[in-house]
Each structure stands twice: as structure tokens, then as C-alpha cells.
């Protein structure tokens, strides 16, 4: 087994195990830690797919940003009241059935896709290509993203403001 294959199987195992743990863990704080692990494992898979830029952004944005905010929300909502919310689940059977259907649908969909048999050589400097694409072909979504961020900022501020 080559080094790459070993890395893939290792990361895949970590990713699936931690993904399951996020969903199944009874402890909210453990869930978020497993989520962090899953996100880092995904970054590792991005590295295997030669997407270094995306791997770095993934860690910077998710692990540095998203996880931190989720932890903050957990601390705010869990510790202010004395007893912790009992985590109950609902409709496990129905939920499982629907999820199974989703999985089958995805598999059918994916197997129908036609892919080129041999991958063409990737651009010499992918990071440079991404940067160029962002500011030329994708400049409109890029700018819209800026507007979205402004809206998100205002929205978060609205909820955080003091009650008058």
C-alpha cells in the first residue's frame, strides 16, 4: 500500500468516526471537538487532492472560526442554567429511513456522472489560478459574498444588541 493510500484510508476512517461521533455523542462539548477533528481530517483529504490552498482556508475558517463560535454558543447556553438539557432524540427509525433514501439517491446520482477517464494535467500553480478566477470569472459572486458578509455582520449585531 502506497503512502497516499494509507493516508487516505487513515483520514477516511478518522473522518467517518468523528462524523458519527458528532451526531451520536450525548455531550455537546464532545460533539464540537469531534467536529473539529472531522474538519481537520477533511483538510487532510484536501491536501491529498492537491488542494493546499483550500486545506489551509478550511483550517483557518472552520477550526479557527466556526468551531470557536460554536464553543462560545455552547458555553453560553449550557453553563448559565444549573442543570443541563437532557439530549433526547426523536424519530430515530423514520430519520434513519430517510437518511438511507438520501444515501441511495446520492449513490445513484454519482454513479451516473460521466468523468474523463484520465485527469488532464492540473494548472501549474493552482493557488494562482484560484486567485485569478476569483477576480475575473467569479468576480460577481465574490462581490456578492462581501454583501452577504455585511448582512451577516449587521444581523449578528442586531441579535447581540442590548434590549432597550
Amino acid at each position: 500500500m502506497s503512502l497516499e493510500a494509507a493516508a487516505f484510508w487513515g483520514l477516511a476512517l478518522v473522518l467517518l468516526a468523528s462524523g458519527l461521533a458528532v451526531v451520536l455523542s450525548k455531550n455537546l462539548f464532545h460533539s464540537v471537538l469531534y467536529l473539529a477533528l472531522a474538519l481537520v481530517a477533511t483538510a487532510g483529504l484536501f491536501l491529498l487532492l492537491q488542494a493546499e490552498f483550500l486545506a489551509a482556508v478550511q483550517i483557518l475558517l472552520y477550526a479557527g472560526g466556526v468551531i470557536t463560535i460554536v464553543v462560545f454558543a455552547i458555553v453560553v447556553t449550557e453553563r448559565l442554567v444549573g442543570e443541563r438539557l437532557v439530549q433526547t432524540n426523536r424519530g430515530i427509525v423514520n430519520g434513519g429511513l430517510v437518511s438511507l433514501a438520501v444515501l441511495i439517491a446520492i449513490i445513484i446520482f454519482v454513479t451516473r456522472a460521466t468523468l474523463p477517464q484520465t485527469p488532464p494535467p492540473p494548472p501549474a500553480d493552482l493557488t494562482q489560478a484560484i486567485g485569478r478566477d476569483l477576480l475575473t470569472r467569479f468576480v460577481l459572486p465574490f462581490e456578492l459574498l462581501a454583501v452577504l458578509f455585511l448582512a451577516a455582520l449587521l444581523g449578528a449585531l442586531f441579535f447581540a444588541r442590548k434590549e432597550e
Binding site: F8, L15, L16, G19, V22, V23, S31, V32, A38, L39, L45, F46, L48, L49, A51, L54, Q58, L61, Y62, I69, V70, F72, A73, T77, V81, L85, Q87, T88, N89, R90, G91, N94, G95, G96, V98, L103, I106, V110, A113, L115, P116, P119, P120, P122, P123, L126, A129, I130, F138, P141, L145, L148, F149, A151, L153, G155, A156, F158, F159, A160
Partner: protein
């Protein structure tokens, strides 16, 4: 060389795990994390396909997904915390107060 189809299979399973989380769990924070898992799975599939086609487009799209997810977390968690402040407990059943 690991074929891209392995990555897409992995992504499909991860996505399904996320779906289970959204459907089965009651705590909005866990649902939130499950949504992150699903977005992550979608990104993985995008990057895998992009690798196959040898183009940067997929990575640009994945980049957009990540940034939108970050914005979504900021607003979504602000809403959750606000609801918690009003209700003192946290369950998606409480979210019915948001209709009008």
C-alpha cells in the same frame, strides 16, 4: 493513486451522517454541526471532481461554500443564543415561536 470515486463515496457517507444528525437530534447546536458536516461533505465531493477535471473552478466554488458557511454560523448562532435567552432552554421545538 486513490481514485476520485473513493472520495465521492466517502463524501456521500459523510453527507448521510449529517442528514441523520439533522433529522434525529433535537438540540439546534447539534443540528448546526450536522449541517456543517453536510457542507463539508459537499466540499469534499467538489474538490474530488475538480481534481478529476484538473480545473480550479471546483476549488473556487468550495471556497465560496466555506465562506458562506462561516457567515451562516455567525447569524445562526446569534439566533440560537437569542432564543435561549428568551426561553432558557434549547430545543428545536422552541423554534416554532419564530412563525407569525
Amino acid at each position: 493513486m486513490v481514485p476520485e470515486s473513493y472520495y465521492t463515496a466517502l463524501s456521500a457517507i459523510l453527507f448521510t451522517i449529517g442528514v441523520v444528525g439533522v433529522l434525529v437530534r433535537r438540540n439546534p447546536l447539534v443540528i448546526f454541526m450536522s449541517i456543517e458536516l453536510m457542507l463539508n461533505a459537499a466540499n469534499l465531493a467538489l474538490v474530488a471532481f475538480g481534481h478529476r477535471f484538473g480545473a480550479a473552478d471546483a476549488q473556487v466554488l468550495a471556497f465560496f461554500v466555506m465562506t458562506v458557511a462561516a457567515a451562516e454560523v455567525a447569524v445562526g448562532l446569534a439566533i440560537i443564543v437569542t432564543i435561549f435567552r428568551l426561553r432558557r432552554r434549547l430545543s428545536v421545538d422552541e423554534l416554532s415561536i419564530m412563525r407569525w
